[in-house]
Symmetry: C3
């Protein structure tokens, strides 16, 4: 059972691009929802989509629950079970956490979008946008933010 | 060995947005290909892309085979092996199926796009678009559909 | 700690579409970065995004490290551990490598985008774009390339 709403159409006029730099402090989830919302507000976006792209192969972009922090703890545990360190990987010149980080990055992905509706991010009630750091050490991570759609 | 075809270009004019509500009946795959095709037809889209975004953290959007239903059965089995219930998760206040559902949602993702070419969805022969419900119980799931491109 | 750069805006004018055909030689990663860069050059794209879509359910699109080939070897190993052949799958009419290929395709995904900034792909230093073939045999794989943004 599915139901399609009425359609709202607007004229596309703008491609806007900015770069978000995120300082991670090692393995875990780092929320960037407020940064993405600031980007949308600054360009006065009305309707369209924000495209997010992470320029790395050992971290990811993830949409996940922003309520109970235990969820992110368990997500880290789950990723470590799926891609354990010291599991006979050929690639180990960059440390035991590097190859697992590449696997996690492949599974979670580095590109996604979030809709913009009525001038704001159309996230679900419990959704936040995160950079998932898969390396043990701190890193500077770069996210390319782009809006395609109509602005005020 | 790869080969790039001729390019077809058109003028982008439209961002169109609608909301698709999907009633799931518990764990499994629920096809929405016809709903997305209806959206494309209704707005008379010609060339561009449909962006799909699921506003939840315990379900996913998945492109998969729409021929043999056994494939979807095995996909559910595979996800349960990758993210089993009662595997020592810290987050268990919402029931034993909730944390596994968050993990599956992270692995499969909640955002994707499908190209529109010559006025129709450019899906592969065996591809269907699915909402993957990862919770045990029925849920109402919301998908934001957006078209960016040229219309008639 | 995060920091948002200045925003660069341009007028969206173009949706350009081409089809890339990739001949794979069985399980492994096949780089298409140069093909996607050629597409961007040919249409004189300036600012926007390239959307990539793979029309198959037993292969994937993956952004991964293009430096040490051992990484791709380990990624194949990791996928085979996550989705092993002969693991009691119901769907086995197309051979023991088919159902694992569907699972890997679901986990890695078939749709992604890469930003275009200043007329070129805004990939990270170590990032390449790959078709991941999950079947044992050679296949012809079709990728729909689309650019949305501003051209010269």
């Amino acid at each position: 059972m599915s139901k399609l709403s009425a359609v709202h159409s607007a004229r596309v006029d703008t491609i806007a691009t900015a770069v978000l730099t995120v300082a991670t402090t090692g393995e875990g989830f780092f929320e960037i929802t407020d940064d993405v919302a600031e980007f949308v507000e600054r360009i006065k976006a009305r309707a369209g989509a924000v495209l997010l792209y992470l320029k790395h192969t050992s971290a990811s972009l993830v949409i996940q629950e922003n309520a109970d922090a235990d969820v992110r703890t368990d997500l880290v545990t789950a990723l470590n079970r799926l891609a354990p360190a010291r599991a006979g990987w050929v690639h180990d010149v960059e440390g035991p956490d590097d190859m697992p980080a590449h696997i996690k990055s492949m599974l979670d992905g580095v590109a996604l979008h979030v809709p913009v509706v009525d001038g704001g991010l159309a996230l679900g009630t419990w959704q936040g946008i995160y950079v998932a750091e898969h390396r043990t050490q701190s890193h500077q991570r770069t996210v390319v933010l782009q809006f395609i759609g109509s602005c005020q």
